[in-house]
Amino acid sequence: MTRLFDSLAIVAGILLLWTGVFEYAGDSAITGPLQTFRFAANLLGRADFWQHAQATLSAFGYALAISAVAGIALGLILGLHRFSGDVAEPMLASLYTIPKVTLYPLMLLVFGLGVSAKVAFGVIHGMIPVILFTLSAVKNIPQVLLRTAKALHLTPMQTATHLLAPAVLPEIISGLRIGFALTFLGVLIGEMFASQRGLGFLIINGINSHDVKRTTAVILIVITASVAANGALLALDRRAHH
């Protein structure tokens, strides 16, 4: 009940802020809520919009798969190998904080325009948090659980599947949730810089051609979709954390 009330309060707050920005900046920068909802509904009924959405989703799918699989694998390896983990963790953390925008020109040169650049943008944003969460989950497994495994005569295989895996799973899910959001962000940025297709491209193209209505509507759709996805993942995350 309070959850519902909180959500409603947040939505109301956003609408208020939106109206405020609209009043301040005028319709050369942003359209008002009502008009945007109407145009967004219209966009959702159009085939060319869905082609762009499809382009974004497929790039996002590849990027997320790479972030998740490679991120978890690297995190496990680094976490299990204590020394390399101790060396890698601060390096990854500082890599994570560098403004990745400085890498874009370089990445464009390497990957060119198109899907692979978008995917690469998604991966550089999304993979590091997955690695870091996995690594710290493995490193922080309580010693007493490993001693318990010995005391209960578990085989190495049983220790891995029945003890290590469930012990690290909640942290990995948290990492994936953050990786999910950042991968999506990376893909959208990639589309703004390095593509002629996708929702990111629609936004930047709308800005360049002063199509305020379309830009605002696409932003609304993107935000709504990512908030919904994040909400679902957060619920999963909470359940995993008992």
Partner: protein
């Protein structure tokens, strides 16, 4: 009145030094015969090597020198028949109480009907019936420790090692848990080694109490209590109880001061 005569586990000149840039001589030399069926407690100042003693006796780590046997065989790795309850909370947060308790038996591939029987018994015995479907995060520290005891109990160990299992509990609850431990000891006929820092707990529960020195821990006194086997916490009211705790404190006082001096 001890159950059967004879040593159940023996330690001969056992020491343990933690290697490292500055090696820590944590334990020993320790010589001890744990008698079959006895309730033996170890008291000693914190950091004196009590948990280290439990580790080597359980086969969780190797002694640096010396020999340990359990039921006549040298200890290499954790032997069948030894159950351990650790000082830290070792319950599995991702499993319900029931699944926690059944964990060891399931991994051993025990017959499901037998698992159900033993788990029901252990859950009932430890007073966990109303919490069987709860998760550890929903339980107090004391309840979680009961889960860990039940998880060990279902394996029907012949030697049970407990490392300060009631450390986090208040005095009254500790006395009652002590009664349950006595009941468990009587019903299973197991040999029990209990590590504790509470002198009254050691005095009330044990057939014998070993008093350890400050690190490196060696036994500086062994106190025999002569309680009847069907004792319970009410013996704290008896004069003999006061004499036992008094003797324990007499042995331990100087050592505890050393431990404090080292910390300060």
């Amino acid at each position: 009145m001890t159950a059967e005569a004879g040593a159940h586990a023996t330690l001969r000149a056992v020491t343990r030094t933690y290697p490292g840039a500055r090696p820590v001589h944590a334990l020993g030399p320790i010589d001890l015969d744990l008698m079959r069926g006895e309730f033996f407690s170890v008291v000693g100042p914190s950091g004196c090597g009590k948990s280290t003693l439990l580790d080597v006796l359980a086969g969780l780590s190797e002694p640096t020198s010396g020999e340990i046997t359990f039921e006549g065989k040298p200890v290499r790795g954790v032997p069948d028949g030894i159950g351990v309850v650790f000082q830290e909370d070792a319950s599995f947060p991702w499993l319900s109480v029931r699944d926690n308790v059944a964990f060891g038996l399931r991994r051993m591939g025990t017959d499901p009907a037998e698992i159900t029987r033993r788990v029901d018994y252990a859950i009932g015995f430890m007073g966990l019936k109303d919490f069987a479907h709860s998760y550890p995060a929903q339980l107090s520290g004391g309840m979680r420790q009961r889960v860990c005891i039940a998880r060990t109990l279902v394996l029907q160990p012949r030697l049970i090692l407990l490392d300060e299992p009631f450390g986090a509990l208040d005095q009254q609850t500790r006395l009652l848990m002590g009664d349950e431990l006595l009941r468990l000891w009587r019903e299973t006929s197991a040999t029990v080694l209990l590590i504790t820092h509470a002198l009254d707990e050691a005095a009330m529960l044990s057939d014998r109490v070993g008093v350890m020195s400050a690190r490196p821990g060696v036994f500086i006194d062994l106190v025999q209590t002569n309680w009847p086997r069907d004792r319970d916490s009410r013996i704290v009211a008896e004069a003999e109880f006061g004499a036992v705790t008094g003797r324990l404190w007499g042995s331990l006082r100087a050592e505890s001061m050393k431990a404090i001096g080292r910390a300060g």
